[in-house]
């Protein structure tokens, strides 16, 4: 048997979208390897029906373990216990902050090989081969495993969600022991929303600002341009400027923020780090303004403008207003 154990992150009664993608991918790969995909949820009082719902995405069994939520090391303990007591050849993660931490910790625990930022996986000769883009996505490396267990950590949004219609999965309670170091971290508050609650997911046009805006007030330029485009436009931001307190968390794009695919994504002063790219690369049209001609964002924009956004944005706002009459 070549079974795959997939980690499913959940929060406030819903499974994370990336985890649904990972379960779907795990089910597809397990079928190719002639095994089953099992999912694992760790939390405090995980609802049975939430766990069972993963059957719809191809999990034939779901393990539920009682443990602290939102921290990686307890999940390493739970998955370590599941793998040592089960028949698993691979562990799969949908990416995100916790996926990276758990996958890496599990690799250390099991002496397992790990591939991260994986964008595609295929089965070949009874083994999995992971594809990982490297060097700013200018090359793709292929990784196989020498270890008994292989760990695959997907890039955010890399795995497609597929409902199989298989219905509810069997749910099994998993007991495990919390390792001493896993109990040394305690969640004080989780999921705090900082800044105003803005809605960017429905917008056709997003004007996104990054560190290149220079200061919090720089966002005014983005807001004015979005205003010129009209009601279907909104302002978005990068992780760096949200962490700096320049803009609300609810407007953040990327790894630990929103994933969007508007008709137009206009990036101002954004370098285009991978963590940002994963949240906006499926936008229909990407326009980037950056003064650094080497900024990675120009590698994946449809129109790139090398120049000073402080000069360009106000004039562009005027021109859009004039055009719209």
């Amino acid at each position: 048997m070549t079974n795959i154990l997939v980690y499913a992150l959940h929060y406030e009664g819903a499974i994370n979208k990336n985890s649904l993608g990972a379960v779907s991918e795990g089910a597809k790969l397990a079928a190719e390897l002639g095994g089953e995909a099992h999912a694992i949820l760790v939390g405090e009082g995980v609802p049975q029906d939430l766990a069972a719902s993963l059957g719809n995405y191809g999990a034939s069994k779901v393990l539920v373990a009682e443990g602290p939520e939102g921290l990686a090391q307890p999940v390493v303990d739970a998955m370590g216990a599941a793998i040592s007591g089960g028949d698993y050849k691979y562990a799969l993660f949908g990416g995100g902050l916790l996926g990276f931490e758990i996958g890496a910790g599990l690799a250390a625990r099991l002496g397992a090989g790990v591939a991260m930022e994986v964008t595609a996986v295929r089965a070949e000769g009874g083994e999995l081969i992971a594809e990982r883009p490297i060097l700013g996505d200018s090359a793709i490396s292929e990784i196989s495993y020498r270890s008994e267990v292989g760990i695959v950590i997907g890039r955010l949004n890399a795995f497609e969600i597929k409902e199989t219609g298989a219905g509810a999965a069997a749910v099994e309670q998993l007991s495990f022991e919390l390792s001493p170091h896993a109990s040394q971290a305690k969640m004080i508050t989780r999921g705090e929303q900082r800044g105003a609650d803005v809605d960017i997911e429905g917008a056709d046009i997003l004007v996104a600002g990054g560190r290149g805006l220079g200061k919090a007030e720089g966002f005014q330029l983005c807001e004015e341009l979005a205003g010129a485009f009209g009601n279907n436009a909104a302002v978005a931001a990068t992780r760096a400027v949200v962490d700096a307190g320049w803009y609300p968390y609810a407007a953040q794009i990327g790894q630990t923020g929103k994933t969007v695919s508007p008709k137009l994504y206009l990036a101002a002063g954004i370098s285009g780090a991978i963590q940002h790219k994963v949240g906006m690369q499926s936008s229909e049209n990407i326009v980037a303004i950056n003064k650094d001609s080497n900024a990675p964002i120009f590698e994946f924009s449809d129109l790139g403008i090398v120049g000073d956004l402080n000069k360009i944005l106000p004039k562009l706002t005027e021109a859009v207003k004039a055009k719209k009459g």
Binding site: G70, V114, I134, R146, A185, R239, L264, D302, L303, I305
Partner: protein, 263 residues
Amino acid sequence: MKICVLVKEVPDAAVEKRLNNSTGRMDRSGEKNLNPYDTHAIEAAMQIREGGVAPVEEIVAVTMGPESAVRALHKAVSLGADRSVHLSDEAVAGSDVAATGYALAQTLRRESPDLVLLGQQSDDGECYTIGAVVAEHLGMPSLTQVIKMDVETGALRCERQAEYGYDTVQVSLPAVISVGDAINEPRYPSLKAIMGAKKKPLETVGAADVEIDTSKVGGENSAARWIAAKAPPAKAAGEIIEDEDTAETVEKIVAWLDERKLI
């Protein structure tokens, strides 16, 4: 409190990064520098020392890499570390993330740190995971992407942005913390600190000195095997406008948007 900061030398951002096609490994020749993300970890250590809540006896920079990695250690010392340790051994060359984390953990074990700090990622391998591997081997709690850190008695109160918003986590010491780049603005080293960096103690250790089981490290023993590298699917390059005359640039942008019915 003794703080160890893990640092790494990476190809300078100005140098084009590439792969060695015969080995599938990163070609690490060319100009090197301290991983820019690591400067935030050193700064965080300095701020704990200067904050005075817990006395910091020593800040030790630790790296693994070839001879040239000494330059990253000198930079780390110029930014505030008191001394440095360099794990240099042919046996560890080509190690994957899991093996590198094990080798670094062995090197750290000898130092018995109260806190291990590192940057959120390296500038070359784009890997955010080494902290979690090191922590597991050392049996310490760990957290990555921390953007605020307050020292409490025997613990740190850490904040970070995770999947559903900002989390505040209390982590008991000893611990392994990787810091995000939003945690601080690293200072520039003074000329005096740069000149003095080479005089600070630097210890070079081999695999045997830190009791590394060499059957677990190196390219051949790593559990993840890089089998090939290929080019990504070709994507049509976007149009680029160099802004010389802004009025003209804006006209071109508007025409481009108009053509696609985006206005």
